[in-house]
């Protein structure tokens, strides 16, 4: 593996319960890249992230740089409200010191007073930031970020994407980001993988997001797509 490469994916296929969810996908991620995985709902984006994390069985090749530390921000945690858990409890589930927690909390723009709040009582913006804070514990080199809630302004100034951009700069992160929101790609990432079960395109957003490719990604295929949860 080349020195500046963080991740190499070759001919990746994932089949879940007899259905091909990802078919023959290849791409690479270099250190410091922000790669967006773009596609309509149900295109296999979350499945791809989970596969990269080693949570799902696959065929093909996934090669991470040796001893890489990966932080994962899941899309949502629906069951967390069932458990009385303060913000501090949650962050401490990942082995971390009080000092580290406070420092990370500040870096995602939250106040320490929030630590004693119940996870279930947080606003969606605060919740999103806590998930990001969670992923930053143990100082990851790569962040896998599943579809941040778009359009949420936290305290009216910094969106989740601005926060990510700032963290990336401060911590020299490599980011893989899943979204179905086209505007995010141009403003935030330097590479894009378009996925609708089949790989549609891969490269610089300005070059590969042609009207034709976008039509293939979101166009005619969409009406055959079954929404599954």
């Amino acid at each position: 593996m080349q020195d500046d490469l963080v991740l190499k994916v070759r001919a990746l296929s994932v089949e879940l319960e007899g259905e091909k969810v990802i078919n023959n996908l290849s791409f690479e991620v270099k250190k410091g890249d922000t790669l967006t995985i773009l596609g309509p709902n149900g295109a296999g984006k979350t499945v791809l992230l989970k596969t990269l994390l080693g949570l799902l069985p696959y065929k093909g090749e996934i090669e991470w740089k040796k001893n890489i530390r990966i932080g994962y921000v899941p899309q949502r945690l629906p069951f967390i409200k069932d458990i009385p858990l303060s913000v501090k409890d949650f962050l401490k589930l990942k082995k971390s010191s009080e000092k580290e927690i406070e420092e990370i909390l500040n870096s995602v723009g939250l106040k320490e007073a929030l630590l004693d709040k119940k996870m279930g009582d947080l606003s969606s913006g605060q919740f999103q930031r806590i998930l990001i804070a969670w992923s930053l514990i143990e100082n990851p080199l790569v962040l896998l970020f599943d579809e941040p809630t778009t359009g949420i302004d936290i305290e009216g100034e910094e969106t989740v994407y601005r926060l990510l951009a700032r963290l990336k700069r401060d911590r020299e992160l490599t980011i893989l980001l899943v979204t179905h929101d086209l505007s995010v790609v141009y403003t935030f990432s330097n590479y894009v993988v378009c996925l609708n079960k089949q790989p549609i395109c891969y490269g610089f957003p300005q070059e590969v997001l042609t009207p034709e490719n976008l039509k293939r990604l979101y166009g005619e295929e969409v009406k055959y797509y079954r929404h599954k949860h």
């Binding site: 994390l53 080693g54 069951f79 069932d82 858990l85 501090k88 589930l93 119940k118």
Partner: protein, 254 residues
Amino acid sequence: MSSQLLLSLTVGIFIGGVAGYLGTLMLSRRMSLVAGPLGHLTLPGIALALIYGFDISLGAFPFVILGIVFIWLSEIRTKLPMEALTAVIFASGVAIAFLFLPIGQAEEALVGNILKVNLWDSTISVVLTVLLFLIITKIYPKMILINISEDLAKSQGIALKKYNLVYLLLIAVIVALGVKIVGGLLTAALAAIPACSARNLSQNMFQYAFGATVIGIISSSLGIFISEFSGFPAGPLIILANAVIFLISTIFKR
């Protein structure tokens, strides 16, 4: 205080407390009900223990293990939801037990008789519950993370299968111990109710876990004391004490 009452209280406090503690993990996994059918499945074992005169927890334990293996295997094979499978087990346990349960001792099997425990029983129960307590404390943060999200837990390198197995074994032991104080019908409630009450009252994980343990201890003590003075069996009184605490907790829900 008679020495018998002291023994019963000791056993009640240890089993009640640890059952409450473990119950917080079961509730956060939406698995509170699983212990119910497992409790019923202990009935044939209890019946055997009563007929041949050995410790009822000892009789109950192999049947709980059988139940857990059955649930685990059939969930893999049939993909039926766990709650549906437990319903199958639940009825089977009761049915088998009533084929040969000595009718004179039915009450003891169904609702327990903590006033019968001897020094030997008590020692074993205390040792086992202390051991359970230590194991639960050790796996607690990881189990909570698994309960929040299996994906998140796996991404942290937590061996899910191992923890689930330990967790099921803990349930098996607490159910088997619980039958001693509240009987096969009620043993599940010993774990389920304190956790529900504690959840109503707590803001964080410590309050939740500690609260359920304390509520388990208080309700067991209350039930045993009231039984001593009223002559009603302790098992149902313990569960009722739990139910009353739960009702009170709903008023103060945070």
